[in-house]
Symmetry: C2
Subunit: 447 residues, 2 copies
Amino acid sequence: MPTDAALNQFFDLLRFGSISTDSKYKDQIVACADWLKDKLNAIGLEATRYETPGHPIVVARGPRRDGRPTVLIYGHYDVQPVDPLTLWQRPPFNPGLENGIVTARGASDNKGQIFSHILGVEQTLKETGDLPVNLIMLIEGEEEIGSPHLAAFLAAHREELACEVVAISDTGMIAPGHPTFTYGLRGLAAVEVTATGPDHDLHSGIFGGAVENPATVLARLIAGLHDKNLKVDLDGFYDDVKPLASWEREAWQHLPLQELDLLKMTGAPALRGEKGFTALERTWARPTAEVNGIGGGYQGEGTKTVLPSKAMAKFTFRLVPDQDPKKIIEIVQDYFHRNAPPSVRLQIVPGHSGEPYLVDPNAGFGLAAQKALGRLFPGKKPALIREGGSIPIVADFKSILNADTLLLGLALPDCNAHSPNETFPVAHLDLGQNLNRYLLEELAEGK
Amino acid sequence: MPTDAALNQFFDLLRFGSISTDSKYKDQIVACADWLKDKLNAIGLEATRYETPGHPIVVARGPRRDGRPTVLIYGHYDVQPVDPLTLWQRPPFNPGLENGIVTARGASDNKGQIFSHILGVEQTLKETGDLPVNLIMLIEGEEEIGSPHLAAFLAAHREELACEVVAISDTGMIAPGHPTFTYGLRGLAAVEVTATGPDHDLHSGIFGGAVENPATVLARLIAGLHDKNLKVDLDGFYDDVKPLASWEREAWQHLPLQELDLLKMTGAPALRGEKGFTALERTWARPTAEVNGIGGGYQGEGTKTVLPSKAMAKFTFRLVPDQDPKKIIEIVQDYFHRNAPPSVRLQIVPGHSGEPYLVDPNAGFGLAAQKALGRLFPGKKPALIREGGSIPIVADFKSILNADTLLLGLALPDCNAHSPNETFPVAHLDLGQNLNRYLLEELAEGK
């Protein structure tokens, strides 16, 4: 169990409503960054808050000595929005601890995970007065909106941030007690599409039939995104998709996370997706076209017989190596423009995007990470997995700092990241604290 | 121009927020019914407010004498909801008069039209102390939600409401100054469909691909409602559709309302609908499948990468003679159930419905109505049209009271019924007042 002081501080961190996508929460974002800077200074690092055109970035450094590797630990202090608020069992920014589980927005993603690394560094510095490596911690506030200013920040501070390897705990463990090394991530490309027909809502009796319904038009465009095998049906969409290796397909069949688990975790009546792939393969190594939100016309109580003026849908396309988000956004725009009938005007607004990521887990620092995980759970071989989520900045670390990234997740599969009632087991604060110590030791050895 | 007193009273009537679909407005509904009862008593009719399981019905009677026909004038005092409120140029229940145009929710549909009949009856009674026919006025408060209690009310009061013919002004004039007799209406069947996949919103990265997206599923079901010629593609949907007569197709080509007018009125970039029919034919004599509203997932600012738990759509199917709403709802339910994948649970809730309507305009009381319209606009032949909207109770008058209905509309095509900024020309109060007088005279003659 973490100390009372550590737990109280974790709760303080969770109380900041640091929602990055909504400008109403700007004060909370800034206050959260300042809290982290103060905490990192207090444990003996040298911390600075950097301004960006968006939300601040906090960077902290440990003691620097020649002859040992520089390791950058990345995390983010911003969180997802909280709606629908009615589904939360407690206010999302009023953290609670029950049966060893902390509930709050950001508990897993990413405050709990980055805070456990801070606890690890604090402990090592207290015990030894030094760290085994030259450490940089970089904690940003725009991960949930696609890190729009991080790449420019890395480029502008390329020399101060030069490092041999990056470590991130922002992914999941395959199952409780099962050490997990994530060697691949999906990328993403976001697009919002609005179809406008008539310039105001019309009486569906007086005009229905003469004027085409933009909600129906949008539905047809959404329907056209997939073929009958539930493959994405856009020209060129799969051109750059790297096929799954046979060792991956084989290994994933034996993981302690299978379709029954997914059914239980999601509450869906059935799993269904692209033909020819298992559910894990579909989420980890196959791209998707997902509707995140759709709206148009009358959504209130009862009936209103309107033919709506417009309908909109928000999409994200999850991408896999070697798909290029820019190319995918072009393909998507082209699809919508080519297929929209003359009865609607389309507005297409591209949103954030991120590159997919894949490294060899059995080479270089990857082996050191596997050793650290092995020490954390003696006798257990770490699961080698990919994940379906996106951490777009992993590609930036590679291209700008020329550093590979180790993804060592501490979240559990049922932690409700991005959903109501997000959780983090309090025991995972200890786990992350130990992981931080073993990892820095193994990376120092692995140099 | 109406008298100041008449105009003030019209504004009083428009100030009631008598929205029938929303239970918040119940007080306004009841107050509006009482206002009408008092007004009808004040002009010399004998008015009563009847309770129903829903909103009240006001019935008023004129002097009864043997040997002359009984005419029932029907209207409704309830109105459509007002959202989106931001598009109104003035508060919808704060009527205003500018350049001869009254703007308020309900101005045309139906308060302006029924109030002009009341003014007509008031004038005739004041001038002659009698009316040419035995008059019944019936004004209800549930037309916009499908008149769920009117049929039972007619049946329960079959003898007191016995009449030879019904007259309704709740339709439109084909163009300003152009007398119009509507001999056909579309019916309607409403259905709300909710598709639920996972039991909570999911992270679209972690689960996207494994779990099917219910918004996408719903979009596919909507897309499947039409074939590539934009015909409704449901088995049996057109089985009972009466083909257009050749005289109708010929006459409608020469009406002063054509595709350019529809484009201007709607602001749509293009008209588009079922292949093989003109826009007027599609709205007046062909059935539709219309999405009135759709919603699911995140509709706020920015991006939220969720795979939504559910998506819903509200539909109305506009029907033409001799389609049966009950049969159509069965066809629609069957379509959704047969085509929904196992990845979603469907909830289908049928809403209100109404029969389509068609009479011979050149027989019986229809000829009397044409004469009254001829007197209103000397030298102009009334346009014989159908309309795309629905007045379901017209079928009830036929089946319960065995009376045909004359539809003599006073609304203009650009009156924004059911839309923001609904209007009614103040001159049409006079028009309706005169129509009432001529109509009662001609119906007395036509007996």
